[in-house]
């Protein structure tokens, strides 16, 4: 049975073959030897650097460690939301509930602390509220095959409504332990200020990165985004994974609510309105495709930083209305979506 082994070098034949030549970003990427999958993230990074440069030229002391450190401090809860959202979007889903869940978690925290429940109980409890709502949404999506858009929309109304049932008015948080945790900070190299929420955000990023790239769960997330049917036929645990991404997103929203409560020292039913859209914008600007399957959690973090920086610049400008932030974000979103479209068109 000595069959010879023909070694065909048929690399990239057929319709989808990578075409030599080409232009623009693709060519640059080839020259720099960047995997094309990282291109969108690199794009986000370039935009980030550009904004930093513009800010640095226009304003004195803009390019200071303090400004960058504050960027993280002020956006830690959005980073956490965006990280959770990345999981969902990678599977091709969407989570519209996170803004409301964040509010629910913050309000619950304030309410429970106000009622005298020890902080050590409150902290895990409010995060768990997020997980449970995520679980319910995940089950709706998976078991009853409700569209993620609809299921999470329902989750959003539910959570927002619950906020008002718990507390229509803003509840200040004065508990000493909580304030101490919220106000704790440390200086890295004597210059970079890190608060509790920044550290929490960094830990969340680290865990997410590990989950996505070094566990089977993460690989399944990407596979589902590529093709759910293929993932199922490959024997991957599709059902479990699809529910889990919503649990993760919900948990992140719960945690985000906690961070927001630390940030504002209060719980208010109207916090985080439309924040889910900021999170989605950050994820998309960070290079994750809404169709699922491609994207990186670090891209989403960069996306949040871009949004945050735009905000900072508008503040520095002083004369501009803060609504300009929205306009810039809108333009950026458009540019990024078009860019991704071009990149993916070139691929096929």
């Amino acid at each position: 049975m000595a069959t010879t082994t023909p070694q065909h070098t048929v690399e990239g034949s057929g319709p989808g073959a990578p075409r030599p030549g080409g232009s623009g970003p693709a060519r640059i990427a080839r020259r720099l030897r960047i995997d094309r999958r990282y291109l969108p993230v690199v794009g986000t990074f370039v935009v980030l650097a550009l904004i930093l440069a513009i800010g640095g030229v226009r304003y004195d002391n803009f390019l200071s460690v303090g400004v960058l450190a504050n960027l993280f401090i002020n956006n830690s809860f959005l980073i956490v939301l965006a990280v959770g959202m990345t999981f969902v979007i990678l599977t091709g889903g969407i989570d519209l509930s996170v803004g409301a869940v964040l509010a629910l978690s913050a309000v619950s925290a304030a309410y429970l602390i106000d009622a005298g429940v020890p902080v050590a109980v409150v902290l895990p409890a409010v995060v768990l509220i997020g997980s449970i709502i995520g679980l319910l949404i995940g089950l709706m999506v998976h078991v009853f095959e409700v569209q993620p858009f609809i299921a999470t929309l329902a989750g959003m109304f539910f959570a927002r409504g619950l906020c008002f049932v718990i507390a229509p008015e803003s509840i200040p948080i004065t508990d000493e332990t909580f304030v101490a945790i919220a106000g704790w900070d440390t200086w890295i190299a004597g210059q970079w200020r890190m608060t509790t929420s920044v550290i929490v955000a960094l830990v969340v990023i680290g865990i997410a990165f590990y989950l996505l790239h070094f566990t089977q769960f993460g690989r399944t997330v990407y596979a589902i985004g590529g093709s759910e049917q293929s993932a199922r036929l490959m024997g991957l645990p599709v059902a479990r994974t699809k529910v889990l991404v919503y649990v993760i997103s919900g948990t992140c929203a719960g945690l985000g609510g906690l961070l927001f409560a630390m940030y504002s020292r209060s719980g208010y039913s109207l916090t985080g309105v439309a924040m889910e859209l900021d999170a989605i914008a950050a994820v998309v600007i960070g290079g994750t495709l809404l169709t699922g399957g491609t994207g990186f959690v670090l891209g989403s973090v960069l996306g949040v930083l871009v949004l945050g920086l735009i905000q900072t610049i508008i503040t520095y400008e002083g004369t501009l209305s803060s609504w300009w932030t929205k306009i810039f974000i809108g333009v950026l979103l458009l540019v990024f979506v078009v860019l991704q479209r071009v990149l993916s068109l070139r691929k096929t």
Partner: protein, 512 residues
């Protein structure tokens, strides 16, 4: 070399399996046995229930009745994952991989080696490269899967099955887009596994391959088991008539006249004439004329550029050199739409991502091309739609013969027929067919060949691409030979041109 299989206990024993889909009894009381150390072919026409039986075994579909015993224990797998854990590795029909991931990631997905709980990517890449090597595939494991042709993807899917240390290997039409070399390579691997005691279940519509590789076969017809046979005790004619339930001679009378058409000889203008058409990295500049009433075949190995030629001619890819003249008028085909408006229809080899729309009905899929050509505002009258749909469903024998069935619920071969019907329905002046008979059973294949020949004799120009040289030879008036992304020769087909001649041309690259 093969030990008498029936001496052992079957590793898989299915009995009385029934599965009913709305309106279709896909499996009806089917019994099936698979022994260790045998290659067992599952045979049947398109829609006979082969893939359904495989999905019943591996838990993709629940069964309505019956018993599945694997390795002596009764099982009802909840999905392919559980089946894998029980030692059943499956390559389903159609490539079921993720194009967004790399080749290595696809191969190892779900089986990544781990160190301290985390995926060890270095080991994973190494293992993937090894599995690719077994299949004789020399591609970069870090390349994106989507950048490879369907054939390569098919081989990658098979490599993936090797990762599981399987007792049972199921291959559902693994060779449908492979060339002879790849098939030989695959069969070598299959034989080696068989000799190690693995039970292999093999599905193919290529009768020759079945006779080459299988020890026994089970024939299904209309969801029922017709019988189980030893391959060496059932000859080809008997097999085919067992499969189709009538005698074979209907297929024999297909005598396509490949007499050369007058047009070409009298110096008439070709319908389409490509001069120096090429695209960097895809295919070197080539000349090709296609006359009305003529079938031009393209022969060549996988990756030789035959698909790329079709894509250039049809505007699916934009040429970066050369000119196309249509009826002597220089025309630039910027995109498929432009080509369609010039009367050029292109049926792509990649039916899953470029062709069929699974969530539409058979009727909608068939009139899709026709309707698009008219513009969406001018809807086709319902009566006309029904006429067209009925005509082509009958001509191609699409089953179930229900125009309202969702396309994704059709068997693979029947989906291919619908795709073909779509392009035929547009009544193009030039029809470009890339692997139109892939996954189609012997009977339907002959019907399709007949239809193509008929259309050509009525004046349609056809470009016909197939990995099966016999088919190309049977249909074509002229044959362009491709090799290494170049057109190396063009021959006029006649009685005395045989498969060997074409193989030789391909091998020699046209240089004698």
């Amino acid at each position: 070399m093969t030990s008498s299989p029936s001496a052992d206990r079957p590793v898989v024993e299915m009995s009385g399996i029934s599965i009913e889909f709305p309106g279709v009894k896909a499996l009806d009381q089917v019994d099936f046995r698979l022994f260790p150390g045998e290659v067992h072919a599952l045979m049947g026409e398109n829609g006979a229930g082969k893939s359904t039986l495989i999905k019943a075994l591996t838990g993709v579909y629940g069964i309505d009745a019956g018993r599945i015993v694997v390795d002596g224990a009764e099982h009802r797998f909840s999905g392919p994952g559980e089946a894998q854990d029980a030692g059943i590795a499956t390559v389903y029909q159609e490539v079921n991989l993720c194009e967004n991931l790399t080749v290595a990631e696809n191969i190892m997905l779900g089986h990544e080696p781990r160190r301290l709980g985390a995926i060890d990517w270095r080991a994973a890449r190494r293992a993937a490269a090894e599995h690719l090597a077994t299949m004789g595939l020399d591609i970069d494991p870090a390349s994106s899967l989507g950048s490879h042709s369907i054939a390569i993807q098919q081989l990658v899917a098979i490599s993936r099955a090797m990762v599981v240390d399987a007792k049972v290997l199921i291959l559902d039409e693994p060779t449908s887009s492979l060339d002879a070399d790849e098939v030989a390579q695959l069969f070598a691997v299959v034989r080696r596994l068989r000799d190690q005691g693995v039970a292999v279940l093999f599905v193919s519509h290529f009768i020759e391959q079945v006779y080459e590789i299988s020890d026994r076969m089970t024939v299904l017809r209309n969801g029922q088991r017709v019988g189980e046979y030893r391959t060496d005790e059932l000859d080809r004619l008997e097999l085919v008539s067992t499969m189709i339930g009538r005698s074979m001679d209907v297929l024999e009378d297909l005598q396509v006249s490949t007499e050369h058409t007058v047009d070409a000889e009298q110096g008439a203008t070709p319908y389409l004439s490509a001069v120096g058409l090429g695209r960097k990295g895809d295919v070197r500049p080539f000349d090709l004329d296609v006359y009305a009433g003529e079938v031009v075949g393209l022969a060549g190995l996988l990756g030789s550029g035959r698909t790329e030629v079709a894509r250039l001619l049809s505007g699916a890819d934009r040429a970066d050199s050369g000119t196309t003249r249509i009826k002597d008028v220089p025309t630039r085909l910027r995109n498929p739409r432009a080509a369609i408006s010039q009367g050029i229809a292109f049926s792509s080899e990649d039916r899953k991502s470029e062709g069929v729309v699974g969530d539409l009905t058979v009727r909608e899929n068939i009139v899709l091309g026709l309707q698009a050509g008219r513009g969406w505002m001018r809807r086709l009258p319902r009566r006309q739609v029904d006429e067209i749909v009925e005509k082509y469903m009958a001509a191609l024998n699409v089953r179930p013969a229900n125009p309202d069935a969702l396309l994704r619920n059709l068997s693979g071969g029947n989906q291919q027929k619908v795709l073909l019907a779509r392009w035929l329905a547009t009544a193009p002046e030039l029809l470009i067919l890339d692997e139109p008979t892939r996954g189609i059973d012997v009977g339907a294949k002959a019907e399709i060949q007949k239809l193509v020949a008929e259309l050509a004799s009525q004046g349609m120009a056809v470009v016909f691409i197939s990995a099966e040289l016999e088919e190309v030879l049977r249909l074509s008036h002229r044959i362009g030979v491709m090799r290494d992304r170049r057109k190396v020769a063009e021959i006029v087909n006649s009685e005395d041109v045989g498969v060997d001649d074409v193989v030789e041309l391909i091998a020699s690259g046209g240089e004698h």
